[in-house]
């Protein structure tokens, strides 16, 4: 009886999948490295490399998706989504009352389905608040050589080729983020389908 030997050969999508997995792993590792950094220069470097790796992972995924090398993710059920929204709105209400009871101001004046995306609220400008240095970030005993608020300032990966700094809330919209040199997109980034 002859035994059939099946030679397992990686297809193109398998190679890309492996790279994608590694990029995801490397991103997690960079995130931890940021939090474990003691020296400000090391932290800034790790944070920059984290963001670069995330952008590269996004590009890799985009290419795989266009080639049909990545299975389409199942879509969330509307009912489940609605249930989530209700639960979390209730939590936010409870928490808000607790904040008020503690005599604190908090960020929100009311919880409601205002339809405003996070950070665009006219009442509080949460998105804008993230960008301003806070008192504890400008304390004099912070390392003076790197600047205490250095990583509060706009970082290169937050500037698109359209110019300007993206507010924190806009970064949830997925678009090619890998910062190209001299303002040119890489060939695989020329598809603006996802913008």
């Amino acid at each position: 009886m002859q035994t059939q030997q099946q030679i397992v050969q990686w297809q193109e999508k398998d190679w890309m999948q492996q790279i994608l997995v590694m990029l995801k792993h490397q991103s997690s590792e960079y995130a931890i490295a940021v939090t474990e950094a003691n020296c400000a220069q090391v932290r800034q470097t790790m944070q920059r490399m984290l963001n670069e790796t995330l952008a590269e992972q996004a590009d890799c995924y985009q290419i795989m998706s266009r080639q049909g090398w990545y299975p389409a993710a199942p879509v969330a059920n509307r009912q489940e989504l609605h249930k989530s929204i209700q639960t979390h709105r209730q939590d936010a209400q409870t928490t808000m009352h607790a904040i008020q009871a503690a005599g604190l101001q908090g960020a929100l004046q009311h919880i409601g389905n205002s339809g405003q995306p996070f950070g665009v609220s006219q009442q509080n400008g949460i998105g804008q608040q993230w960008r301003q240095p806070q008192p504890w970030q400008t304390a004099p005993n912070r390392q003076a050589d790197q600047g205490s608020g250095a990583w509060q300032n706009a970082q290169p990966w937050q500037q698109t080729t359209q110019g300007g700094v993206q507010a924190a809330d806009q970064q949830s919209k997925w678009q090619p983020q890998q910062q190209p040199q001299a303002g040119h997109y890489q060939p695989w980034q020329s598809d603006h389908r996802y913008q």
């Binding site: 890309m16 474990e36 003691n38 020296c39 090391v42 080639q67």
Partner: protein, 68 residues
Amino acid sequence: MQPLTSKELNYVNDMLGGEDLLIKLCVSAQSNILQPEAQQFLHHVIGVHQRRHDELVHILEQHESIAH
């Protein structure tokens, strides 16, 4: 610039290993992938990972002078 802690050194070592592995993986992938867009991407990121690896080694070199 502060002297590197042992923990920081460990993480830099880990990240260096990761970048090196990614380079090797991308090089192998490139010789096995024919799709042009993926080819271009791989060719580009090999250089990016090399640059990142180099930068991390440079950080170690910079901190060597202030190490105890």
